[in-house]
Symmetry: C2
Subunit: 223 residues, 2 copies
DNA sequence: TCAAGCCGATTGTCTGACATTCTTGCAATC
DNA sequence: GATTGCAAGAATGTCAGACAATCGGCTTGA
């Protein structure tokens, strides 16, 4: 028997359900950065009690998806470009490392999964649904990170990418960004498929750098 | 006026106070890994109500300092060596990068702070107080990370180091580990003081690798 | 126009409650 | 003797309601 196979089924508690829903709401831009989240409103909208909601909010606070100022309550933080830059830098470190490791150790089966997710992104890229683009792209990274052999790398990366979902959504709407993103991701995929660690690292680095540049453009232009 | 100077004073709420106290309790080994945390007991010990405690627990859960299984409640996770290895690897990436950047940009004033914290560790190293050793060493890293120019790097690093505090405490108790740790940290300090990025990276990498090895030894020997 | 003060809205925190689920000990059965 | 089944107790998940402290905005007065 595998030593650490986690067979325990996790009942979905109200708290967890709430965290997931709110997280998704933030990703999809339902809550704009800077907007306040009023407890009583959320309670009625979600149909839950205040204690449960507050527990969920504390979880999101610890993930840095919201911030809670005492006596003012929770709000979606407006990410400064300075912090966004910092996140992109760390994301680059993690993603480059993960891509490199992934190229050396991914299984054929997972490679097919990666290809599938690339196709999914390709389809999304040809549409105008920027949320779908962000989500499918996240799946693509997720598979790479899940196969880098380091669960912590994956976990930290997921947390960071979540925090810049706002920027990612906006920059995906940029003219041609989705298509060039697709090209970059295809290059990453090819390198990993070829088992070429160096190429995977290089392609991955390029991709993050361009994503960061696109985010900067969208931020400067759009307000 | 600085654009983003945060002048808001944060009233210390019961929730935050509780998070800090529990975090410290975990660091100091008051709660052994694997042990369950019973809400009613903690409530009476801390003198707070259950909702406040539960909010605090959710925060700690999101920091991965505790885990909460539905209908079983919170407990301190027993870190497997596999996960610990993963954490050490990511910590290495972050700390090496931070040390390198720090060497290029630290201010003379902060450098003095770094030297001070090194002295503090030196003193702790000659004692037998392994908690003090862990704490002062954490201060040392903290200054490096705070001067690397990337707040996210700092934040993520702090979170990871927190999670391996148990291992760090145990390995510091190893014969001679504190002294060799001191030597390694001094080398890091010297490199940063000299503004030598490459040396700082190298010394930092060595330090983390040795810390990891020491953790492995203490784990294998001690049970 | 601007400052001071008041009022509603919101949050921080507590108490108490109850259904559900887990744990544990004991009895019954094979 | 080992395993199964069950029942009591303990712990958690969730809710409702309450109240003081604080914040933000609006009115009022100078």
């Amino acid at each position: 028997m595998p030593p650490d196979l986690n067979l325990r089924i996790s009942p979905r508690t109200v708290q967890r359900e709430t965290v997931d829903k709110l997280r998704l709401a933030i990703f999809s831009g339902l809550f704009q950065p800077g907007s306040r989240l009023v407890e009583s409103q959320l309670c009625t909208q979600l149909g839950i009690s205040r204690p449960s909601l507050r527990e969920a909010l504390r979880s999101l606070e610890a993930e840095h998806l919201i911030e809670i100022v005492p006596n003012r309550g929770p709000s979606v933080p407006a990410l400064s470009w300075e912090v966004a830059t910092a996140i992109y830098e760390v994301r680059e470190m993690l993603e480059v490392e993960a891509a490199g490791r992934c190229a050396l150790r991914i299984s054929p089966e997972q490679l097919r999964e990666l290809e599938k997710s690339l196709s999914a992104f390709e389809e999304a890229a040809s549409s105008n649904d920027s949320l779908a683009q962000v989500m499918t792209a996240a799946d693509f990274y997720s598979i790479i990170l899940a196969n880098c052999g380091n669960p912590i790398l994956e976990e930290v990366h997921r947390g960071l990418v979540a925090r810049i979902s706002f920027f990612r959504g906006r920059s995906m709407s940029l003219e041609g960004r989705a298509q060039s993103s697709l090209a970059e991701m295809r290059e990453i995929f090819e390198s990993i498929a070829a088992g070429d660690e160096k190429a995977a690292r290089k392609a991955s680095k390029q991709h993050v750098l361009k994503a960061k540049a696109a985010a900067k453009v969208s931020m400067d232009s759009g307000i």
